[in-house]
Protein backbone atom coordinates (compact mmCIF):
# COMPACT_ATOMS: atom_id res chain seq x y z
CA UNK A 1 0.00 0.00 0.00
CA UNK A 2 2.89 2.29 0.76
CA UNK A 3 6.04 1.49 -1.13
CA UNK A 4 9.47 3.09 -1.09
CA UNK A 5 11.66 2.22 -4.10
CA UNK A 6 15.33 3.22 -3.89
CA UNK A 7 14.46 6.48 -2.22
CA UNK A 8 17.25 8.98 -1.61
CA UNK A 9 17.09 12.46 -0.12
CA UNK A 10 19.77 15.02 0.60
CA UNK A 11 19.73 18.24 2.62
CA UNK A 12 22.64 19.89 0.87
CA UNK A 13 25.48 17.46 1.51
CA UNK A 14 23.69 15.54 4.22
CA UNK A 15 22.31 12.22 2.99
CA UNK A 16 19.18 12.04 5.10
CA UNK A 17 17.49 9.12 3.38
CA UNK A 18 19.88 6.54 2.01
CA UNK A 19 18.52 4.03 -0.45
CA UNK A 20 15.27 3.31 1.33
CA UNK A 21 13.36 0.29 0.15
CA UNK A 22 10.22 -0.50 2.08
CA UNK A 23 6.81 -2.02 1.61
CA UNK A 24 3.97 -1.36 4.04
CA UNK A 25 0.90 -3.50 3.34
CA UNK A 26 -2.63 -2.47 4.12
CA UNK A 27 -3.56 -2.70 7.77
CA UNK A 28 0.00 -2.93 9.02
CA UNK A 29 1.07 -1.02 12.09
CA UNK A 30 4.68 -0.01 11.60
CA UNK A 31 6.75 1.59 14.34
CA UNK A 32 9.87 3.47 13.28
CA UNK A 33 12.51 4.17 15.87
CA UNK A 34 16.09 5.30 15.99
CA UNK A 35 18.38 8.03 17.29
CA UNK A 36 17.89 11.74 16.52
CA UNK A 37 18.82 12.65 13.02
CA UNK A 38 18.36 9.12 11.74
CA UNK A 39 15.85 10.28 9.17
CA UNK A 40 12.78 8.65 10.66
CA UNK A 41 10.64 11.83 10.71
CA UNK A 42 11.86 12.73 7.25
CA UNK A 43 10.83 9.31 6.02
CA UNK A 44 7.17 9.63 6.97
CA UNK A 45 7.04 13.30 5.96
CA UNK A 46 7.94 12.19 2.45
CA UNK A 47 4.91 9.96 2.32
CA UNK A 48 2.48 12.89 2.11
CA UNK A 49 5.04 15.07 0.38
CA UNK A 50 5.67 17.50 3.23
CA UNK A 51 9.25 16.85 2.12
CA UNK A 52 10.50 16.17 -1.38
CA UNK A 53 12.81 13.37 -2.50
CA UNK A 54 15.57 13.69 -5.05
CA UNK A 55 15.78 10.08 -6.15
CA UNK A 56 13.58 7.01 -6.29
CA UNK A 57 9.84 6.61 -5.95
CA UNK A 58 7.23 6.55 -3.22
CA UNK A 59 3.93 4.97 -4.18
CA UNK A 60 0.78 5.19 -2.09
CA UNK A 61 -2.22 3.16 -3.28
CA UNK A 62 -0.78 2.98 -6.79
CA UNK A 63 -0.27 6.74 -6.91
CA UNK A 64 3.29 8.05 -7.20
CA UNK A 65 3.59 10.68 -4.48
CA UNK A 66 6.41 12.76 -5.92
CA UNK A 67 5.12 12.90 -9.47
CA UNK A 68 4.27 16.32 -10.88
CA UNK A 69 0.98 15.10 -12.26
CA UNK A 70 -0.31 13.74 -8.97
CA UNK A 71 -3.38 15.33 -7.42
CA UNK A 72 -1.89 16.23 -4.05
CA UNK A 73 -5.20 17.33 -2.57
CA UNK A 74 -6.77 13.95 -3.28
CA UNK A 75 -3.69 12.12 -2.04
CA UNK A 76 -3.47 14.07 1.20
CA UNK A 77 -7.16 13.54 1.88
CA UNK A 78 -6.39 9.83 2.11
CA UNK A 79 -3.50 10.31 4.54
CA UNK A 80 -3.92 11.62 8.06
CA UNK A 81 -0.88 13.25 9.71
CA UNK A 82 -0.36 13.88 13.40
CA UNK A 83 2.49 16.23 14.40
CA UNK A 84 4.69 16.21 17.48
CA UNK A 85 3.64 19.79 18.25
CA UNK A 86 -0.05 19.13 17.43
CA UNK A 87 -0.36 22.36 15.37
CA UNK A 88 -4.05 22.85 16.03
CA UNK A 89 -5.39 26.11 14.57
CA UNK A 90 -5.46 28.44 17.60
CA UNK A 91 -8.02 30.83 16.17
CA UNK A 92 -10.70 28.14 15.77
CA UNK A 93 -12.70 26.03 18.18
CA UNK A 94 -11.91 22.36 18.52
CA UNK A 95 -14.95 21.45 16.44
CA UNK A 96 -14.02 23.86 13.66
CA UNK A 97 -10.45 22.55 13.68
CA UNK A 98 -11.81 19.10 12.91
CA UNK A 99 -14.47 20.31 10.44
CA UNK A 100 -12.14 22.49 8.38
CA UNK A 101 -10.89 19.87 5.95
CA UNK A 102 -14.20 18.07 5.30
CA UNK A 103 -15.93 21.36 4.50
CA UNK A 104 -13.16 22.87 2.37
CA UNK A 105 -11.48 19.87 0.79
CA UNK A 106 -14.27 17.33 0.51
CA UNK A 107 -16.82 20.09 0.03
CA UNK A 108 -19.21 18.58 2.55
CA UNK A 109 -22.16 20.53 3.90
CA UNK A 110 -21.62 22.10 7.30
CA UNK A 111 -24.20 19.91 8.99
CA UNK A 112 -22.74 16.72 7.60
CA UNK A 113 -19.21 17.76 8.47
CA UNK A 114 -20.29 18.66 11.98
CA UNK A 115 -21.87 15.23 12.42
CA UNK A 116 -18.75 13.36 11.37
CA UNK A 117 -16.51 15.67 13.38
CA UNK A 118 -18.49 15.15 16.57
CA UNK A 119 -18.34 11.40 15.95
CA UNK A 120 -14.55 11.54 15.66
CA UNK A 121 -14.28 13.72 18.74
CA UNK A 122 -16.31 11.12 20.58
CA UNK A 123 -13.96 8.45 19.33
CA UNK A 124 -11.04 10.26 20.95
CA UNK A 125 -13.10 11.03 24.04
CA UNK A 126 -13.40 14.80 23.73
CA UNK A 127 -16.98 15.61 22.73
CA UNK A 128 -17.46 17.96 25.67
CA UNK A 129 -14.54 20.11 24.48
CA UNK A 130 -15.90 20.73 21.01
CA UNK A 131 -16.68 24.39 21.77
CA UNK A 132 -13.37 25.13 23.48
CA UNK A 133 -10.29 26.70 21.94
CA UNK A 134 -6.98 24.80 21.73
CA UNK A 135 -5.37 27.13 24.28
CA UNK A 136 -7.88 25.92 26.87
CA UNK A 137 -6.90 22.28 26.45
CA UNK A 138 -4.06 20.28 27.94
CA UNK A 139 -1.34 18.91 25.70
CA UNK A 140 -2.80 15.43 25.72
CA UNK A 141 -6.25 16.74 24.85
CA UNK A 142 -4.84 18.87 22.03
CA UNK A 143 -3.06 15.88 20.55
CA UNK A 144 -6.23 13.80 20.71
CA UNK A 145 -8.05 16.57 18.84
CA UNK A 146 -5.22 16.50 16.31
CA UNK A 147 -5.82 12.79 15.87
CA UNK A 148 -9.56 13.42 15.37
CA UNK A 149 -8.63 16.07 12.81
CA UNK A 150 -6.61 13.44 10.99
CA UNK A 151 -9.33 10.79 11.22
CA UNK A 152 -12.24 12.93 10.08
CA UNK A 153 -11.25 12.60 6.42
CA UNK A 154 -11.63 8.81 6.71
CA UNK A 155 -8.08 8.20 5.57
CA UNK A 156 -6.68 4.80 4.75
CA UNK A 157 -3.34 5.67 6.30
CA UNK A 158 -2.46 7.53 9.50
CA UNK A 159 1.05 8.87 10.02
CA UNK A 160 2.29 9.86 13.47
CA UNK A 161 5.49 11.91 13.91
CA UNK A 162 6.56 11.42 17.55
CA UNK A 163 3.01 12.07 18.77
CA UNK A 164 3.82 11.88 22.47
CA UNK A 165 7.30 13.42 22.59
CA UNK A 166 6.00 16.91 23.43
CA UNK A 167 3.67 15.73 26.17
CA UNK A 168 4.03 15.64 29.92
CA UNK A 169 4.40 12.05 31.11
CA UNK A 170 0.90 11.81 32.66
CA UNK A 171 -0.71 12.60 29.33
CA UNK A 172 1.14 10.12 27.17
CA UNK A 173 -1.18 7.31 28.20
CA UNK A 174 -4.41 8.94 27.00
CA UNK A 175 -2.96 9.54 23.55
CA UNK A 176 -1.50 6.05 23.26
CA UNK A 177 -4.86 4.58 24.27
CA UNK A 178 -6.53 6.37 21.36
CA UNK A 179 -3.86 5.08 19.02
CA UNK A 180 -4.24 1.52 20.29
CA UNK A 181 -7.98 1.68 19.59
CA UNK A 182 -7.24 2.75 16.03
CA UNK A 183 -5.13 -0.34 15.58
CA UNK A 184 -8.00 -2.57 16.53
CA UNK A 185 -10.05 -0.95 13.75
CA UNK A 186 -7.60 -2.11 11.12
CA UNK A 187 -6.03 1.25 10.29
CA UNK A 188 -2.72 1.28 8.41
CA UNK A 189 -0.38 3.22 10.68
CA UNK A 190 3.21 4.45 10.57
CA UNK A 191 4.32 5.70 13.93
CA UNK A 192 7.64 7.35 14.65
CA UNK A 193 8.01 7.01 18.40
CA UNK A 194 10.22 6.22 21.36
CA UNK A 195 7.36 4.53 23.21
CA UNK A 196 8.54 0.96 23.14
CA UNK A 197 5.63 -0.24 25.26
CA UNK A 198 3.27 0.82 22.50
CA UNK A 199 5.45 -0.90 19.92
CA UNK A 200 5.52 -4.15 21.81
CA UNK A 201 1.76 -4.06 22.33
CA UNK A 202 0.38 -3.29 18.89
CA UNK A 203 3.09 -3.03 16.26
CA UNK A 204 3.20 -5.63 13.51
CA UNK A 205 6.71 -4.58 12.60
CA UNK A 206 9.45 -2.38 14.00
CA UNK A 207 11.88 -0.48 11.77
CA UNK A 208 15.17 0.76 13.17
CA UNK A 209 16.87 3.61 11.36
CA UNK A 210 20.26 5.18 11.76
CA UNK A 211 22.11 7.68 9.61
CA UNK A 212 19.37 7.67 6.96
CA UNK A 213 19.43 3.92 6.46
CA UNK A 214 17.10 1.16 7.54
CA UNK A 215 19.39 -0.85 9.73
CA UNK A 216 17.06 -3.54 10.93
CA UNK A 217 13.43 -4.57 10.76
CA UNK A 218 11.44 -7.31 12.43
CA UNK A 219 8.49 -8.12 14.64
CA UNK A 220 8.54 -6.44 18.04
CA UNK A 221 9.49 -9.54 19.90
CA UNK A 222 12.26 -10.36 17.41
CA UNK A 223 13.56 -6.83 17.46
CA UNK A 224 13.54 -6.15 21.19
CA UNK A 225 14.55 -9.57 22.42
CA UNK A 226 16.89 -10.59 19.61
CA UNK A 227 18.33 -7.62 17.78
CA UNK A 228 20.40 -8.72 14.81
CA UNK A 229 22.72 -5.76 14.55
CA UNK A 230 25.03 -4.16 17.10
CA UNK A 231 23.66 -0.69 16.50
CA UNK A 232 20.13 -1.87 17.22
CA UNK A 233 21.23 -3.67 20.33
CA UNK A 234 23.04 -0.58 21.55
CA UNK A 235 20.01 1.60 20.94
CA UNK A 236 17.63 -0.76 22.68
CA UNK A 237 19.80 -1.06 25.76
CA UNK A 238 20.08 2.72 25.98
CA UNK A 239 16.37 3.43 25.81
CA UNK A 240 15.33 0.63 28.08
CA UNK A 241 17.69 1.56 30.85
CA UNK A 242 17.11 5.31 30.97
Amino acid sequence: MIEFKNVNKWYGKLHVLNNINLKIPKGEVLVICGPSGSGKSTLIRCINRLEKIQDGQIIVNNTPVHDKATNLTKLRAEIGFVFQQFHLYPHMTVLRNVMLAPVNVKKMSKTEAEKISLAKLEQVGLTEKSGSYPAQLSGGQQQRVAIARGLVMSPEIMLFDEPTSALDPEMIGEVLDVMVNLVSEGMTMCVVTHEMGFAKKVADRVLFMDDGKIVETGTPSDFFDNPQTDRAAEFISKILTH
Partner: protein
Amino acid sequence: MMSFYFGRLVEIYPFFLKGLWMTSKIAFISLVSCTLIGFILGIFRSSNSLILKRVVGVYVAFVRGTPFVVQIFIIFFILPEWGIQLDAFAAALLAMAIMGSAFICEIVAGGINSISRGQWEAATSSGLTLIQQLRLVIIPQAMKVILPPLVGQYVLLIKDTSVVSVIGVMELTRVGWVTVVRIPEGLMVFSLVGILYFSISYPLILLSNYLERKMSM
Protein backbone atom coordinates in the same frame (compact mmCIF):
# COMPACT_ATOMS: atom_id res chain seq x y z
CA MET B 1 -4.85 93.44 12.59
CA MET B 2 -5.14 89.90 13.93
CA SER B 3 -8.88 90.20 14.48
CA PHE B 4 -9.34 91.56 10.96
CA TYR B 5 -7.60 88.50 9.60
CA PHE B 6 -9.41 86.25 12.03
CA GLY B 7 -12.70 87.53 10.65
CA ARG B 8 -11.59 86.80 7.12
CA LEU B 9 -10.48 83.37 8.18
CA VAL B 10 -13.91 82.61 9.58
CA GLU B 11 -15.37 83.75 6.24
CA ILE B 12 -13.10 81.48 4.32
CA TYR B 13 -13.67 78.50 6.61
CA PRO B 14 -15.91 76.62 4.16
CA PHE B 15 -12.96 76.60 1.77
CA PHE B 16 -11.00 74.72 4.43
CA LEU B 17 -13.79 72.24 4.88
CA LYS B 18 -13.73 71.60 1.14
CA GLY B 19 -10.03 70.96 1.42
CA LEU B 20 -10.64 68.58 4.30
CA TRP B 21 -13.22 66.80 2.21
CA MET B 22 -10.76 66.42 -0.66
CA THR B 23 -8.11 65.13 1.75
CA SER B 24 -10.62 62.63 3.12
CA LYS B 25 -11.55 61.46 -0.37
CA ILE B 26 -7.95 60.94 -1.39
CA ALA B 27 -7.17 59.27 1.92
CA PHE B 28 -10.11 56.90 1.76
CA ILE B 29 -9.56 55.80 -1.83
CA SER B 30 -5.85 55.40 -1.13
CA LEU B 31 -6.36 53.37 2.03
CA VAL B 32 -8.64 50.96 0.20
CA SER B 33 -6.42 50.60 -2.87
CA CYS B 34 -3.21 50.35 -0.88
CA THR B 35 -4.68 47.72 1.42
CA LEU B 36 -5.89 45.55 -1.46
CA ILE B 37 -2.68 45.83 -3.46
CA GLY B 38 -0.54 45.68 -0.34
CA PHE B 39 -2.10 42.41 0.82
CA ILE B 40 -1.55 40.76 -2.54
CA LEU B 41 2.04 41.99 -2.70
CA GLY B 42 2.60 40.93 0.90
CA ILE B 43 1.46 37.41 0.07
CA PHE B 44 3.88 37.35 -2.87
CA ARG B 45 6.67 38.73 -0.71
CA SER B 46 6.28 35.98 1.88
CA SER B 47 5.82 33.21 -0.67
CA ASN B 48 8.30 30.49 -1.49
CA SER B 49 8.84 31.77 -5.02
CA LEU B 50 12.24 33.46 -5.17
CA ILE B 51 11.29 35.42 -8.28
CA LEU B 52 8.15 36.91 -6.75
CA LYS B 53 10.02 37.77 -3.56
CA ARG B 54 12.80 39.49 -5.44
CA VAL B 55 10.61 41.41 -7.88
CA VAL B 56 8.34 42.72 -5.13
CA GLY B 57 11.47 43.41 -3.08
CA VAL B 58 12.91 45.68 -5.76
CA TYR B 59 9.63 47.57 -6.02
CA VAL B 60 9.45 48.00 -2.24
CA ALA B 61 13.09 49.14 -2.07
CA PHE B 62 12.49 51.81 -4.69
CA VAL B 63 9.40 53.14 -2.91
CA ARG B 64 11.01 53.09 0.51
CA GLY B 65 14.29 54.51 -0.69
CA THR B 66 12.97 57.64 -2.40
CA PRO B 67 11.02 60.57 -0.98
CA PHE B 68 7.30 60.56 -1.73
CA VAL B 69 7.52 64.05 -3.24
CA VAL B 70 10.07 62.77 -5.79
CA GLN B 71 7.76 59.86 -6.65
CA ILE B 72 4.90 62.29 -7.20
CA PHE B 73 7.06 64.42 -9.50
CA ILE B 74 8.08 61.34 -11.44
CA ILE B 75 4.49 60.25 -11.93
CA PHE B 76 3.10 63.69 -12.69
CA PHE B 77 5.81 64.95 -15.01
CA ILE B 78 7.06 61.82 -16.62
CA LEU B 79 3.92 59.87 -17.47
CA PRO B 80 2.78 62.50 -20.02
CA GLU B 81 6.15 62.00 -21.77
CA TRP B 82 5.22 58.36 -22.15
CA GLY B 83 1.81 59.24 -23.54
CA ILE B 84 -0.24 58.76 -20.35
CA GLN B 85 -2.24 61.86 -19.58
CA LEU B 86 -3.36 62.09 -15.99
CA ASP B 87 -4.94 65.00 -14.21
CA ALA B 88 -3.55 65.98 -10.83
CA PHE B 89 -6.17 64.11 -8.84
CA ALA B 90 -5.61 60.83 -10.70
CA ALA B 91 -1.85 61.22 -10.52
CA ALA B 92 -2.15 61.81 -6.79
CA LEU B 93 -4.21 58.63 -6.33
CA LEU B 94 -1.75 56.63 -8.40
CA ALA B 95 1.22 57.93 -6.44
CA MET B 96 -0.49 57.17 -3.11
CA ALA B 97 -1.43 53.68 -4.28
CA ILE B 98 2.12 52.87 -5.34
CA MET B 99 3.67 54.28 -2.19
CA GLY B 100 1.20 52.96 0.35
CA SER B 101 1.00 49.45 -1.04
CA ALA B 102 4.77 49.03 -0.69
CA PHE B 103 4.64 49.80 3.00
CA ILE B 104 1.56 47.67 3.61
CA CYS B 105 3.24 44.86 1.67
CA GLU B 106 6.04 44.76 4.24
CA ILE B 107 3.62 44.80 7.15
CA VAL B 108 1.56 41.95 5.68
CA ALA B 109 4.65 39.91 4.79
CA GLY B 110 5.92 40.38 8.33
CA GLY B 111 2.64 39.10 9.71
CA ILE B 112 2.52 36.06 7.45
CA ASN B 113 6.14 35.19 8.18
CA SER B 114 5.42 35.26 11.90
CA ILE B 115 3.10 32.27 11.61
CA SER B 116 4.90 29.07 12.55
CA ARG B 117 5.75 26.58 9.84
CA GLY B 118 3.74 23.96 11.68
CA GLN B 119 0.50 25.74 10.87
CA TRP B 120 1.35 25.63 7.16
CA GLU B 121 2.25 21.96 7.44
CA ALA B 122 -0.91 21.01 9.31
CA ALA B 123 -3.03 22.83 6.73
CA THR B 124 -1.10 21.27 3.86
CA SER B 125 -1.44 17.79 5.30
CA SER B 126 -5.22 18.10 5.40
CA GLY B 127 -5.22 18.63 1.66
CA LEU B 128 -6.11 22.34 1.63
CA THR B 129 -5.02 24.31 -1.44
CA LEU B 130 -2.61 27.24 -1.05
CA ILE B 131 -5.41 29.79 -1.26
CA GLN B 132 -7.50 27.89 1.30
CA GLN B 133 -4.50 27.73 3.61
CA LEU B 134 -3.99 31.47 3.38
CA ARG B 135 -7.68 32.29 3.69
CA LEU B 136 -8.64 29.93 6.52
CA VAL B 137 -5.53 29.35 8.58
CA ILE B 138 -2.66 31.74 7.93
CA ILE B 139 -4.12 35.19 7.35
CA PRO B 140 -6.68 35.08 10.20
CA GLN B 141 -3.81 34.40 12.56
CA ALA B 142 -1.50 36.90 10.88
CA MET B 143 -4.07 39.66 11.35
CA LYS B 144 -3.16 39.91 15.04
CA VAL B 145 0.35 40.88 14.06
CA ILE B 146 -0.70 42.96 11.07
CA LEU B 147 -3.51 45.08 12.45
CA PRO B 148 -1.73 47.52 14.82
CA PRO B 149 1.03 48.54 12.41
CA LEU B 150 -1.53 48.60 9.59
CA VAL B 151 -3.65 51.19 11.37
CA GLY B 152 -0.45 53.09 12.18
CA GLN B 153 0.37 53.06 8.48
CA TYR B 154 -3.10 54.43 7.72
CA VAL B 155 -2.30 57.47 9.89
CA LEU B 156 0.94 57.97 7.97
CA LEU B 157 -0.90 57.73 4.67
CA ILE B 158 -3.46 60.32 5.71
CA LYS B 159 -0.62 62.68 6.55
CA ASP B 160 1.16 61.89 3.30
CA THR B 161 -1.85 63.15 1.35
CA SER B 162 -0.54 66.61 2.25
CA VAL B 163 2.38 66.12 -0.15
CA VAL B 164 0.11 65.82 -3.18
CA SER B 165 -0.48 69.53 -2.74
CA VAL B 166 2.68 70.06 -4.76
CA ILE B 167 0.96 69.08 -7.99
CA GLY B 168 -1.93 71.40 -7.35
CA VAL B 169 -4.57 69.10 -5.89
CA MET B 170 -6.82 71.32 -3.81
CA GLU B 171 -6.65 69.31 -0.62
CA LEU B 172 -6.32 70.71 2.88
CA THR B 173 -2.63 71.66 2.81
CA ARG B 174 -2.92 73.40 -0.52
CA VAL B 175 -5.95 75.29 0.75
CA GLY B 176 -3.72 76.59 3.54
CA TRP B 177 -0.92 77.40 1.12
CA VAL B 178 -3.21 79.30 -1.20
CA THR B 179 -4.95 81.07 1.69
CA VAL B 180 -1.77 82.28 3.35
CA VAL B 181 -1.04 84.39 0.29
CA ARG B 182 -4.20 86.41 0.83
CA ILE B 183 -4.38 86.17 4.60
CA PRO B 184 -0.73 86.49 5.64
CA GLU B 185 -1.25 85.03 9.08
CA GLY B 186 0.82 81.85 8.75
CA LEU B 187 0.34 80.82 12.34
CA MET B 188 -3.44 81.05 12.27
CA VAL B 189 -3.90 79.53 8.85
CA PHE B 190 -1.70 76.54 9.43
CA SER B 191 -2.90 76.08 12.98
CA LEU B 192 -6.35 75.67 11.51
CA VAL B 193 -4.99 73.24 8.93
CA GLY B 194 -3.20 71.36 11.69
CA ILE B 195 -6.30 71.14 13.84
CA LEU B 196 -8.30 69.72 10.96
CA TYR B 197 -5.66 67.07 10.25
CA PHE B 198 -5.49 66.32 13.95
CA SER B 199 -9.22 65.70 14.02
CA ILE B 200 -8.94 62.86 11.52
CA SER B 201 -5.56 61.44 12.55
CA TYR B 202 -5.78 61.40 16.30
CA PRO B 203 -8.75 59.02 16.56
CA LEU B 204 -6.84 56.57 14.35
CA ILE B 205 -3.74 56.92 16.52
CA LEU B 206 -5.82 56.10 19.57
CA LEU B 207 -7.25 53.10 17.71
CA SER B 208 -3.76 51.93 16.80
CA ASN B 209 -2.57 52.20 20.40
CA TYR B 210 -5.64 50.34 21.58
CA LEU B 211 -5.10 47.56 19.05
CA GLU B 212 -1.46 47.27 20.00
CA ARG B 213 -2.39 46.79 23.63
CA LYS B 214 -5.15 44.33 22.84
CA MET B 215 -3.11 42.20 20.46
CA SER B 216 -0.19 41.80 22.83
CA MET B 217 -2.37 40.18 25.49
